[in-house]
Symmetry: C2
Subunit: 336 residues, 2 copies
């Protein structure tokens, strides 16, 4: 097969070596035309061991080196939320395309600035809301839009895990924008936006832990003449991690880890049951990876599936929820 018929390889440079970086790095080889060109960490030894494990040709001891690496087409930002805005700016200023982990930023002000910078520079920027790219979720979305479930009355989603309070964990650090909302709540919120758009009314509540971040949050999003979208996120227990989408013609139920793209059970009002979707191979990031590569090959600067204005609107919703709870992060005070 002549080389010209292969897709142009999109070379990924990664910032950060944490869990998400590892999961994504493991899935990149599943995508034809995607490859990891470089890994960056603030410590050379950490970069080196990541490079060895995931067969990355170049290991940099700084994020700056990654964004300026000529062999990198796209910078994947897998640092903590509190660093996203600064790290994305680095990459955008270097003229690189950017895929930024969720939560996109710490607040809407940061998100708006990030989007403006990318648009000004004419570079691709997208929030890494991987759930949205799973074939299973695409099919669910189509079923909802096409009315296969009838008029949707409710969506109830749980995203929770047992994670005892640990002041040394970024998830419990207010300085690093820890808490359930930005780490877990963003998934059901993004799903609500995907299926129904911005809610007409939001009510929410949170329970703060000893480190002053939300260890548990819950919300009801209401849509006028539409569904109630009810979700719960927690570090205090594994509450099942299920999702139910109910409509007048039946319901879709995912019993476990719904945001990972695993199959749903479709239970029609007449009792008939069937399976929707398939379990993805690997960690399930390959669909997002392929989408980003295709966007770049197509010369896009924004994803039609996860557009920047939607990421900004999601951050606005989270800002409003935090305001109601009295929860602020240091980044909220940054001006200029």
């Amino acid at each position: 097969m002549p080389a010209s018929s292969s897709p142009r390889p999109i070379r990924w440079g990664m910032l950060g070596t944490g869990m998400i970086a590892r999961l994504v790095a493991a899935d990149i080889p599943l995508v034809p035309g995607a490859e990891i060109a470089a890994i960056g960490s603030r410590r050379q030894s950490t970069a080196d061991s990541f490079a060895a494990e995931f067969d990355v040709p170049v290991a940099h001891d700084s994020y700056e080196a990654v964004v300026h690496d000529d062999n990198v087409d796209l910078v994947f930002i897998a640092t903590p939320h509190s660093r996203h805005a600064a790290d994305a700016r680095l990459a955008i200023e270097a003229g690189k395309a950017v895929l930024c982990e969720k939560a996109f930023t710490v607040n809407a002000t940061e998100a708006r600035k990030m989007a403006a910078a990318a648009r000004k520079a004419g570079v691709f920027l997208m929030e890494a809301m991987w759930t949205r790219f799973h074939p299973t979720m695409s099919r669910i979305r189509r079923m909802v839009k096409d009315g296969d479930l009838g008029s949707i009355s409710s969506v109830v989603a749980d995203i929770s895990t047992l994670r005892p309070t640990d002041p040394n964990d970024r998830l419990f650090a207010r300085d690093l924008a820890g808490g359930t909302l930005l780490d877990l709540g963003v998934y059901p919120i993004a799903l609500a936006f995907d299926l129904f758009g911005p809610p007409d009314d939001v009510m929410s509540t949170a329970q703060m832990g000893p480190t002053e971040v939300d260890e548990q949050s819950a919300a009801i999003f209401s849509y006028d003449n539409g569904p109630q979208f009810i979700w719960h996120a927690s570090f205090r227990a594994d509450a099942g991690r299920g999702l139910t989408i109910a409509g007048a013609k039946g319901r879709l139920r995912n019993d476990r880890d719904w945001w990972k793209g695993r199959p749903f059970t479709w239970i029609q009002e007449n009792g008939e049951r069937s399976t929707v979707g398939t379990t993805p191979e690997g960690n399930g990031y390959q669909f997002e990876i392929a989408h980003v590569c295709n966007c770049l090959r197509d010369g896009r600067t924004e994803s039609p599936v996860m557009p920047l204005d939607e990421s900004i609107a999601i951050m606005e919703t989270m800002d409003a929820m935090r305001a109601a709870w009295g929860l602020t992060y240091p980044n909220d005070d940054v001006r200029g």
Copy 2:
């Protein structure tokens, strides 16, 4: 076996011939020492056919006749919510013990008056919150209280069914105190009270249908330093009717019709699964029926399991929710 060793029969008189009356009448024969003595309807023909179907010796053409029937020890009120207060007063004034269907009344004012009347008359009065008497639910309650689940972080409950808007159905009639809250929401609310007592904070929302009653409602009950109790009730779709109780040591999950006392799956944090509870025979009302009979034999005027002050507090919570929604019923205006 000499007759004296059998429990004294408790003779039930029923007001109303609707679905609940039928379900309870069918289960009374499952309880030794319980029997139906009389049925009352506003139409003789309706009472007669109920009597024929459930083998009831006497069929009255009025509620008054039932409460004054000397062969009736206990009056079971199975009329619509909007009639409960008036029908209970009839029975209490006749010196009869009363079991009153849920929702106990339309509002807390009615509930307080009903409790005061029963206490003054020295007669037994209880809200028919049958869920609380199921052996499965008693076991769940004990597991929660004993800390078998660890510290409870959340309870998520759904109670919903597809019931298209029908102005001729009492559930959609504002005059009859229709809507999801009093018919369905009362179950998760009573469960919240049973497990954790009155909530420290309540936020709720409802969607009104064309007949101006709540066709869908949802709430988050928060407990200071305790769980979030999240529930949803709907006539607009069957959303699964599941219940999850999550704690640091694992979770209890009921996949279907949790308030009917069917078994739960107990999933420990280590992944071990087991079944808690058994499916009751009949319709599952026999445990409540037996409890009420035992209370009367013991000379009680109030149930230790479903006390009147709790029924009043539940009505107060529902009053506050309706106030937030702007939903009133005609009974709310009654003074005196």
